[in-house]
């Protein structure tokens, strides 16, 4: 029996070693770049990195990224001028766009349709409104020159903080044990295909069944929506207290249906522009998201870009007869 056990362990180790090689050779692992917090307290990617990000068991999605000198995934550098017309698109992983080739982003699609417009994409997975507004405040010399700022808010979760504080939670994912584990591309791959997640999830559910942890159903909270609405509104107001921000031309890219009514009504009352992309995505015939997650695929990004283009044309552009923007207001 010992012989069997030794052979299982030996063969098992050898198979893991081979799998590690195969995952590397076929580049099946995700390959996320390194993170950092800069001297102004902004969390972003370490500038100058490039590579590929794979999604799915069999690399169903494979995209190239390029982190520019400012620390965001973009084909262009951010160098606004007084004469040029620049738009900043700020948001989370949907704007970051690790699910597409960096030169096929929402910003690039807008630029292709609106010659003369430069789109700066400040996307970073996990950003909420506090992070996004902090970024604008931390770099006044940059954002003062940018003509329009569009902030993408996906869910009310983006408004769960009422003030900004540097968080090192995400940075921990590349330190200590995590950094060591990340060195194994096989582990990264198993994590990506949710193999490890399923295993640990099941083990945790056994554990909680065994020790009767957490029993009892969560009480239904009828006022939950009302309280969420109050909270998001309260946080939104307290985040926008910086007088510098009020002078900026900020618009919000949102799906109306995802936000509490009182929040949307407040934006309208205050005259804050919103771009509602919800319906445009909903009525698409072809899928707008990727296979493995809810991030937009090329079609989804196209729809978002079109929504932004019409918004820019209507609200800020002086249109030529053929529909091109002649001059910005």
């Amino acid at each position: 029996m010992e012989r069997l056990l030794i052979k299982i362990l030996f063969y098992g180790a050898l198979i893991l070693f081979i799998l590690e090689g195969l995952v590397r050779v076929f580049h099946l692992h995700k390959g996320t770049p390194e993170r950092m917090i800069d001297d102004r307290g902004v969390e972003k990617w370490v500038p100058g990195q490039s590579g590929y990000i794979a999604t799915g068991n069999r690399r169903q999605n494979f995209a190239e990224y390029r982190i520019n000198n400012f620390g965001y995934n973009s084909y262009r550098e951010f160098a606004p001028t007084e004469d040029g017309y620049e738009i900043a698109l700020i948001g989370d992983s949907f704007i970051e766009g690790f699910h597409q080739d960096y030169d096929n982003s929402i910003g690039k699609k807008i630029e292709d349709s609106l010659p003369g417009v430069e789109v700066y994409e400040f996307g970073y997975a996990g950003y909420d409104l506090a992070d996004e507004l902090h970024l604008i405040s931390a770099y006044p010399e940059l954002f003062d020159k940018i003509d329009q700022i569009v902030i993408f808010l996906q869910y009310p979760d983006d408004l769960l903080r009422g003030s900004f504080k540097i968080s090192k939670e995400r940075l921990k994912l590349q330190e200590g044990t995590y950094a060591l584990l990340k060195k194994s591309k096989l582990l990264v791959y198993l994590q990506n295909i949710r193999f490890l997640g399923n295993m640990t999830g099941k083990l945790n559910s056994w554990k909680s069944n065994l020790f009767r942890q957490g029993g009892g159903e969560e009480k239904r909270d009828q006022n939950k929506e009302q309280r969420l609405g109050d909270l998001t509104l309260h946080n939104f107001k307290s985040l926008l207290t910086d007088p510098g921000l009020k002078t900026k031309k900020i618009s919000f890219l949102v799906d109306r249906k995802s936000f509490p009514d009182q929040f949307m009504s407040y934006l309208e009352k205050e005259g804050i522009s919103t771009i509602d992309y919800g319906e445009a995505l909903e009525f698409q015939q072809t899928p707008v998201t990727l296979i493995y997650d809810m991030h937009w695929n090329d079609q989804g990004r196209k729809v978002i870009a079109e929504e932004l283009i019409s918004f820019i044309r209507v609200h800020y552009g002086i249109l030529a007869e053929n529909g091109d923007i002649l001059k910005m207001k």
């Binding site: 029996m1 012989r3 069997l4 052979k7 299982i8 063969y11 050898l14 198979i15 081979i18 799998l19 195969l22 068991n57 069999r58 169903q60 791959y189 198993l190 295909i193 949710r194 193999f195 997640g197 399923n198 295993m199 099941k202 083990l203 899928p287 990727l290 296979i291």
Partner: protein, 484 residues
């Protein structure tokens, strides 16, 4: 508990360790452990199922004793045999067929103009594996009655035979003459046996996860929306279902045989590369062998088999195929499926060609099969695939519409995977799988028949890699045959 679940990968090593390390030389202890672990394995679905298996065990143990004590062929022996038959068939009939027969009776009254409101149909849960273990216990009583085996006096041994967890819920259906003596005799740990068991476990898991589970969403989509698909896609759906059910069921059988080997027990083979069959007769010698031989031994031969006048022999063929169809489920679709196979088998029987390829492998002594052999395989495969439409469809009308769809205008539109995956992956997968199966076609119990250890090892590694490539975190798919 599913073979392809995390629970099983904790359960199996634990039982294995206790079985050999703690109870190594104690036969009774080992059998008690097998019994307890089998009940845990089965009760994992629903503890109430245990009451049924316990009842079946008690009745057949007692009936077996009484048949064994009586004079062979006497009225007492006959009476106790009927007790066993009525109990087992009654239990199966109630849990599996009650609603079907009541529903069919009401439908037939409806046809002749009588509208009857059903108050008799019941909300019955079908206990997992009931068709398998009732047939297994039934064979015990029948074999004692025929004097083929002696009744066991040890209840633990008998209960372990009935509930032996590797084959409890989906076979292979064992015979008392084969499995019971193995349970009664002391078993010794064998490295080679255990290693062979692990290899079968790996190969079975591959068939289940990589072949069956990955094709399942495509098959489900095509069969659900068959009215909106073109003939080429419908044909693909039928062929894919053929591979899905083969991967699912033969994968289960491999894992069952492999697991049993780990405990020093040999189970009967259930599949011998059925898609390399050159006619339907050969197909049925290679597909679900333990069920077809059960029907052969306990139904076909007692009815006279083929050693009676031709019309009676043909009747026997139809009976065995129709009953075999009905065994799979309480639905007319299974009955039609059995009937189709009977119609396909009869010409071979009449021409005396049903045993033509017995004992001969495809492409024997050559690298590739000849053109005639290949054509025969292809024709058989197409016939089997088309018959699967009735097996898989929800109802006769759905199957009929699917069939009609196959004969509408042929177009070749691109098929989009329901979850958006690349379809080319699946065609490549099936090509590689068939090539591999062809390479190993001589022995279903040795999925890695390579002389050099390096090639064997590379095969293990590639199979584990394939498991990851096709692993789907979103589903914990059960085995198709659990519903039977």
């Amino acid at each position: 508990m599913l073979f392809n679940s995390l629970e099983y990968f904790v359960f199996l090593p634990l039982v294995f360790f206790l079985y050999w390390k703690v109870l190594g030389n104690k036969l009774t202890g080992q059998n008690i452990l097998l019994l307890v672990s089998s009940y845990v394995f089965y009760g994992w679905w629903d503890w109430r199922f245990l009451l049924l298996i316990l009842a079946s065990t008690l009745v057949d143990f007692y009936a077996g004793q009484r048949i064994g004590r009586a004079i062979q062929g006497s009225r007492t022996a006959q009476r106790w045999l009927w007790v066993s038959i009525l109990f087992n068939i009654g239990m199966l009939g109630f849990f599996k067929y009650f609603n079907f027969f009541i529903g069919s009776f009401i439908d037939s009254l409806d046809v002749i103009g009588y509208k009857v409101q059903s108050i008799w149909t019941l909300n019955i849960i079908l206990p997992v594996g009931i068709s398998f273990y009732t047939f297994q216990t039934l064979s015990y009583s029948l074999d004692i009655y025929r004097g083929k085996v002696k009744p066991t006096r040890n209840f633990i041994d008998f209960a372990a035979f009935v509930s032996f967890f590797p084959q409890l819920v989906a076979g292979p259906i064992e015979r008392s003459s084969h499995l019971l003596p193995q349970i009664e005799k002391p078993r010794k740990f064998s490295y080679n046996n255990s290693a062979d068991g692990l290899k079968l476990l790996l190969y079975g898991l591959l068939k289940k996860v990589v072949i069956a589970d990955s094709l399942a969403p495509i098959v489900d989509d095509i069969f659900t929306n068959h009215l909106s698909y073109s003939p080429a896609i419908l044909l693909m759906g039928a062929v894919f279902f053929g591979f899905q059910i083969y991967g699912d069921f033969s994968g289960y059988s491999d894992m069952a045989i492999g697991t049993a080997k780990l405990f020093g027990i040999e189970l009967r083979s259930n599949f011998r590369f059925p898609y390399f069959s050159r006619n339907i007769g050969e197909f049925w010698r290679r597909w679900h062998i333990s069920l077809s031989t059960w029907f052969r031994d306990y139904l076909y031969i007692p009815l006279g088999g083929s050693r009676v006048a031709k019309p009676k022999a043909l009747r026997n063929i139809f009976i065995i195929f129709l009953v075999s169809g009905l065994w799979h489920g309480a639905n007319w679709t299974f009955l039609v499926w059995g009937g189709i196979h009977a119609f396909l088998f009869v010409p071979l029987f009449v021409l005396g060609a049903n045993r033509k390829y017995k004992g001969k492998h495809l492409g024997e002594g050559r690298i590739l099969p000849g053109i005639r052999e290949s054509l025969a395989v292809l024709v058989t495969f197409i016939m089997v695939s088309l018959s699967w439409i009735f097996f898989r469809a929800e109802s006769l009308s759905a199957a009929w519409n699917y069939f009609k769809g196959l004969f509408s205008t042929w177009e070749f539109p691109a098929y989009l995977h329901p979850q958006g995956y690349r379809m080319s992956d699946y065609f490549i997968l099936l090509l590689v799988f068939l090539t591999y199966e062809y390479r190993i076609r001589f022995n279903e119990r040795d999925p890695f028949p390579f002389k050099t250890g390096t090639i064997r090892f590379i095969s293990y590694a590639l199979m584990v890699f394939a498991l990851l490539l096709f692993y789907d975190s979103g589903t914990d798919r059960s085995f198709i045959y659990f519903q039977f």
